[in-house]
Symmetry: C2
Subunit: 237 residues, 2 copies
DNA sequence: GAGTGGTCTAGACCACGTT
DNA sequence: ACGTGGTCTAGACCACTCA
């Protein structure tokens, strides 16, 4: 199923995580991987480049590839990952409350965010994320109903992404995120446990499938003290 | 000087920006670029992959490569870019006020962030960024003095990065950022025009050179209404 | 000089989308 | 059937680091 370089990529991550390749250690050279896996150099290089892009290693010409301390930088919320995936990785005691789940009739003002003409319908899903008993995050998601024809309460409580990728077989491709800090709305105050905070961190994003079609617009509103976003960036020219 | 694929990468960006390759248009195929530039397919693919990584295009197997609407998503503050570079691109009327510029003696509590032993010195630079007459951002930077031996007021008012990359010839490699929202400190209130806001958006980052050495730790504190962070992410496996 | 990663080539086969 | 991008190979030369 998977390509050779993805397998190697996965193997190396596993070995980094289990400590076979500890932090700051030098990874085996490209030629070692070639002979160990019986693959060509280019294939090894593809795997190593992926690792580098995602912040697992860095490579130094003439010296080798070295394991970076990825834990130092907490958790890569930066990538494309759902609340469910994150909660599982971090072992959070979390709960999702479905607040709204409806097919919004044509003409809603969300149409423009999904680049849809006005005769189309949109799934509107509002979910409240509870962590350690406190309502911390309000997720407002809008889906193109032509791509996601059916949504149920069960799907929304589990993971919409798992459903979309698993059941529907759609391939998530890329997203754009924008993070701002805004005064909290009446809605935020009603639905979240805001305590004394009067602002929220807002992550707005559009998510596209591999073929480029826009299928989701979402707004994720976080109580500020519980919000953290981490990002790994490389200088590219 | 530059490699072939970087040249092609730059050429294509230029053509996207000037409109020769408009948004949503199909880019010429890989084989067109091969014959046009007289280079091999792999070299073309390297350029296209870079464009894809950086959100300029997306590729669809069997169809082609298409120009994404990069402007839709504002400005890629996500990458590694300095305030000066950003202000220039956005044509902001900005000003930098140097608040602190000193060589901090050994034993400061910033040592740990720079992974330095206690006998080393650190450059400490506090700058206030003013936009349209308002003090909006407080940048607190700490540099490893072994890598950046000398800093002057002039350098800090212009661009430290320009100095480091241009004069010192160091190569910025990668960084980790972490964004949080925090109550504003006394210092924030004194140095910034906070108006009625009582929180700040804080971007903490470590910046490494190409060889992996850690040379900067910084904390950038923004008035919340003027803060925006954008990010382009791909789902990688 | 030996070992390492960086660039580049030429050619192969595959999977996908369109016609 | 044809054109597209995705994967993979084998081999070449270069630049850099280190003993």
């Amino acid at each position: 199923m998977n390509s050779k370089y993805i397998s190697l990529y996965g193997d190396i991550i596993a070995k980094i995580e289990e400590g076979t390749f500890p932090v700051n250690a030098k990874l085996p050279s490209e030629s070692s991987f070639m002979s160990e896996y019986g693959i060509s150099r280019d294939t090894v290089r593809k795997a190593l480049n992926l690792l580098e892009q995602n912040g697992y290693i860095h490579k130094i010409k003439g010296k080798g590839s070295f394991v970076l301390d990825i834990n130092k930088f907490n958790f890569p919320v930066a990538g494309l990952i759902s609340f469910k995936e994150m909660a599982e990785k971090l072992n959070l005691h979390s709960k999702t409350i479905i607040h709204t789940l409806e097919l919004e009739s044509p003409g809603s003002n969300m149409m423009k965010h999904l680049d849809l003409t006005n005769d189309k319908e949109i799934w509107k899903v509002f979910r409240i994320r509870q962590i350690n008993g406190k309502k911390i995050i309000l997720d407002k998601d809008y889906f193109n109903s032509e791509l996601v024809p059916k949504l149920t309460k069960e799907i929304c409580e589990d993971s919409i992404y798992r459903y979309i990728e698993g059941e529907l077989g759609l391939q998530i491709g890329f997203s754009n995120k924008e993070i701002t800090v805004e005064p909290c709305s009446e809605e935020d105050e009603q639905l979240l446990d805001m305590e004394d905070y009067d602002m929220v961190a807002v992550v707005r994003s559009t998510v596209h499938l591999m073929d480029g079609s826009l299928f989701q617009y979402s707004e994720s509103r976080h109580r500020p003290d519980k919000f953290k976003f981490t990002d790994f960036a490389r200088r590219t020219w």
